[in-house]
Symmetry: C2
Subunit: 253 residues, 2 copies
């Protein structure tokens, strides 16, 4: 027979498709270039559109593609390095931090946050919404939870509203002496609210960074920041802006 190799472990079509597309992206496309639409691509590869989409979804997850409804699929730029754990001795809102306060409300935090703060599950806390922009693009949305016990002077806060109120909470928080912080990173999916802020669809993959701020021997504040997983590489330490390239010239010897 003419078959040279029996496919003992048949690779799924979408997996093979992904490999082929990855190689094509490395060699034949440049950043920002638009791909043919899904129907054409599927036809070209001789697969159903759903199968093609399975491959595209993975490539988008890996940050190689960007898809926008009504527009098309483009080759994504390399992920941007976003510094996350730079200074363990600075409060949020300290001079030079990357966040822009948006507004502030008093609301019931998620149960998991209430547990970290050791407030009761029915205790409302100051909730500061912040937004982070890099290279002109929104990369993260953040909610900072601050219990009453962590803001010495309430009157300065209640006098303001909107972004001014958010800044007031941060200012009051900075009066405490920060004793330390720790962080955790996990995978999540964007809530409808975060999605809007990040210019993505709800459910889009995000990296959730939870930071606990310690002061006065307790957890004085908790921040939950959601970063776009498709476009961000979170950096810890001092290598913030090192670029990681996809092999533009893979020529194995």
């Amino acid at each position: 027979m003419g078959t040279t190799q029996l496919e003992s472990v048949p690779e799924p079509k979408y997996w093979h498709l992904k490999t082929v597309l990855t190689e094509a992206l490395d060699s034949e496309f440049s950043v920002g270039e638009i791909l043919p639409n899904e129907r054409d691509l599927a036809a070209r590869f001789g697969v159903a559109r759903a199968t093609l989409r399975q491959a595209l979804e993975q490539l988008e997850l890996e940050g190689r593609l960007q898809r926008r409804r009504g527009v098309g699929t483009t080759v994504a730029p390399p992920r941007v390095g976003v510094a996350v754990g730079t200074d363990p001795h600075a409060w949020p809102g300290a001079p030079g931090d990357a966040w822009r306060p948006v507004d502030c409300t008093v609301a019931l935090p998620p149960g998991a946050v209430a547990d970290l703060l050791e407030t009761g599950r029915d205790e409302r806390v100051h909730t500061v919404r912040r937004s982070r922009v890099t290279h002109g693009r929104p990369v993260a949305a953040d909610l900072l939870y601050v219990p009453d016990a962590s803001v010495p002077d309430l009157s300065a806060i209640d006098a303001a509203s909107g972004a001014a109120r958010a800044r007031a909470v941060l200012r009051e928080l900075q009066r405490l002496e920060l004793e330390g912080q720790d962080q955790a990173v996990e995978l999540g999916s964007a809530s409808a609210e975060d999605a809007k802020e990040l210019d993505r669809l709800p459910g889009a993959p995000v990296l959730v960074v939870t930071t606990r701020y310690y002061a006065e021997d307790r957890t004085a504040a908790v921040s939950v920041a959601t970063y776009r997983a498709d476009t961000c590489r979170l950096t810890f330490g001092d290598a913030g802006d090192v670029e990681i390239h996809h092999d533009p010239e893979r020529r194995a010897s």
Copy 2:
């Protein structure tokens, strides 16, 4: 008319399904319990199986469910906190680290790694495979890339093979004075090789932690560790084992 509210922004079915299932998981199911199979669930909710699966996929991504082919879908335990950035002054393989050396080969590293090491793209390096296990479950697979320039005594390495050779490379590496390290976290998908190690299917979402080790004023080694994104919460700082709970008792007042 009897309609109380015009659905001005019709929520996708799978999104609503996910919400319903999340609430059910919080209130009616306990960890390890098996759900009805996908065909039954789809019928019960009156949707196509593909739509039901879209909801299940998201819940698995969020670490709420675990699905195994041939077995079924079970309620996942809370993610385990895995310490990642504990000691910035310790080499890999130092006493007490969480990794088990598996084997070691000499191979051409990925182009991105070669760039970090500042070796040529056609230069082969020692490649140590390691594996990390927590609570009896594999949580991460790792490749440590070490150029010849970072191992003073090659003869001690070439004499061994397998895990012994891996340990020899780590031992030689520890003779250098570590000047610092930095890390980056990003989302990826498991290669076929990693998938096997992690007991997942290829393409499964993983958190990729890239660590650069500095010594002698250069990058002396690079580690690329892939953690199961569904089961792991990466912790930085000293809050390793704090548990995060899903609200088991959400009773809003």
